[in-house]
Amino acid sequence: MSITDIENEIVEEFEIFGQDWEAKYEHLIDLGKSLPVIKEERKTEDKLIKGCQSRVWLDSEKKNDKIFFTADSDAIITKGMVALMIRVLNGQGAKDIIESKLEFINKIGLKEHLSPTRANGLVSMINRMKMDALTLSK
């Protein structure tokens, strides 16, 4: 599936919540809980995205020209957002990842999490995902 296809799939899934933000956040929290954790020993300094209230760790690797991500956060809502990003970008080509606009976040009404003042590390994480994709593609 292409990035856009997965984004559309998520937008559709989120439509059932409508204006019920509590249900939406409960879903986001569930997504966070179900994201496989990174083992403590792999949460090294170089994988940590710093400068945020909630810490995010990101590990990237390349398999058969596709990029794969593992990520974790100590805050569960951030982790839910991280899970959505991974679902969209995992296993895609580097070029597609770098060029992705990730507009689904706006469409599912969670754009506020990408505001620079949220201090949740998501903007930095997306930047890091793209940087890693670029580095690994070379």
Binding site: W21, E22, Q53, S54, R55, I76, I77, T78
Partner: protein
């Protein structure tokens, strides 16, 4: 506005709330509940109008012109100084210097002391719960001058270990720089004990009053410390304005480190004669509307007086602490009945960021994170806390709503 019974004036929060236009806002379809007063307080119409009035009718540079506006602006500025000095019981208003805020004041003090008192290898004592602002400026000096910061430890109840303080003092110790109220825990430092020890060892006392001045009566004549600083914006006044109080001795002795327009008597290329009193430290055009707005805030508070405000806010704190203690998942840090209007807590196994994010969805503004006290966070072994801090317009009804939603948030996150 106020009901006066002999000398007791009661707080009527319903009427007070009408003075704060921002409280009419709704956030995410809920009425705003603003519990982030430790970061900054909201402003009453009286302050907003004082600033608008200044720009509409009086705006002019001060201490310079001969024209009417300049005279009026200067007078308004100096009346503001008298108002604020009288509020803090400062005998000579020249001891009250206007700065851009607590941080600026602390930087001026440390720069002055580092050029006069402090020598290579000297020591400065701080508490475990200092705000970064009262650490960094001293640390910068220490790093360049082989100096040392010594830290008063906390006891198990998170209060300061005053007995340990005296053991930290050596002949090289020159200054105790300490916060009056912990911005994270709300605990009040016992300045009587600090003063007694400092006087015995001839140490300079610098008090960071950023979190005490908004919540309690501060009598600087009685307190009798070397320096006291605070910010207007945490006391219902505008941002970018603060005060630096210094004792008569330091008003004469502290070297000028921030020279500029307004601080001088005469200047030639060879030599400058500096002004006396507060002006020597007020370089450049000050935040005139900030100072005038600050005085309006002080006049507003003095309708009730700080004793009554403190009593009211203490009622809120103790009510909130009690309500929080009924929730088994909640851990309150620095629990005490003698607090300024600040409470820090966490929910077991939950990141404070998640709690703050969800409370915001209910229109409740709290602060989450390290509150610029990372060393304290390390001592408490937490990445951060959720902090609620109250002001005169907060109510028990708001606390009830907050507690109800906090329980809901916990059930969502668990």
């Amino acid at each position: 506005m106020i009901t006066q019974k002999s000398e007791h004036i009661k707080l009527d929060t319903e009427l007070i709330r009408k003075d704060f236009p921002i409280l009419n806002r709704s956030i995410n379809n809920f009425p705003l509940i603003y519990f982030d007063n430790g970061a900054t307080t909201q402003k009453p119409n009286q302050v907003i109008e004082a600033i608008t009035n200044y720009y509409s009718n009086t705006n002019s540079n001060i201490h310079r012109g001969v024209h009417t506006l300049s005279r009026e602006a200067t007078e308004a500025f100096e009346v503001a100084r008298k108002t604020i000095a009288s509020h803090f019981k400062i005998k000579n208003e020249q001891q009250l210097i206007f700065t851009s805020g607590t941080t600026d004041s602390l930087n001026i003090i440390s720069a002055g002391l580092s050029r006069s008192v402090l020598k290579n290898g000297d020591e400065i004592i701080l508490s475990s719960y200092e705000h970064h602002s009262n650490i960094l400026t001293w640390q910068l000096w220490a790093g360049e001058n082989n100096g040392k910061l010594k830290i008063i430890p906390l006891k198990n109840d998170h209060s300061l270990d005053y007995e340990a303080l005296e053991k930290l003092i050596t002949p090289k110790t020159k200054i105790i720089a300490i916060t009056h109220v912990s911005n994270t825990l709300g605990l009040v430092t016992d300045l009587t004990q600090i003063k007694a020890i400092a006087k015995k060892h001839n140490l300079i006392i610098v008090v960071d009053g950023a979190q005490s001045a908004p919540h309690m009566e501060v009598d600087l004549t009685e307190l009798d410390v070397d320096f006291f600083v605070c910010s207007a914006h945490k006391i219902y006044g505008p941002t970018g304005t603060g005060i630096l109080y210094m004792s008569e001795k330091w008003l004469r002795a502290l070297p000028t480190t921030k020279p500029g327009g307004g601080t001088i008597k005469t200047v030639s290329f060879e030599k400058t004669e500096y002004a006396e009193g507060a002006l020597r430290f007020e370089a450049g055009t000050p935040n005139i509307e900030g100072v005038i707005g600050f005085a309006a805030a002080i006049n507003y508070l003095n309708r009730w007086g700080m004793k009554i405000i403190h009593e009211y806010e203490l009622g809120l704190v103790n009510y909130a602490q009690y309500k929080l203690s009924e929730i088994p998942e909640v851990i309150v840090y620095g629990q005490s009945t003698n607090k300024a209007a600040v409470i820090s807590f966490n929910v077991k196994d939950v990141h404070p960021f998640d709690v703050g994010t969800l409370l915001d969805k209910y229109g409740i503004a709290v602060r989450t994170g390290h509150h610029c006290t990372q060393p304290l966070m390390a001592i408490l072994c937490v990445p951060g806390t959720v902090r609620i801090s109250f002001a005169i317009y907060n109510t028990k009804t708001e606390i009830d709503f907050f507690i109800e939603k906090l329980k809901k948030v916990i059930s969502m996150l668990k």
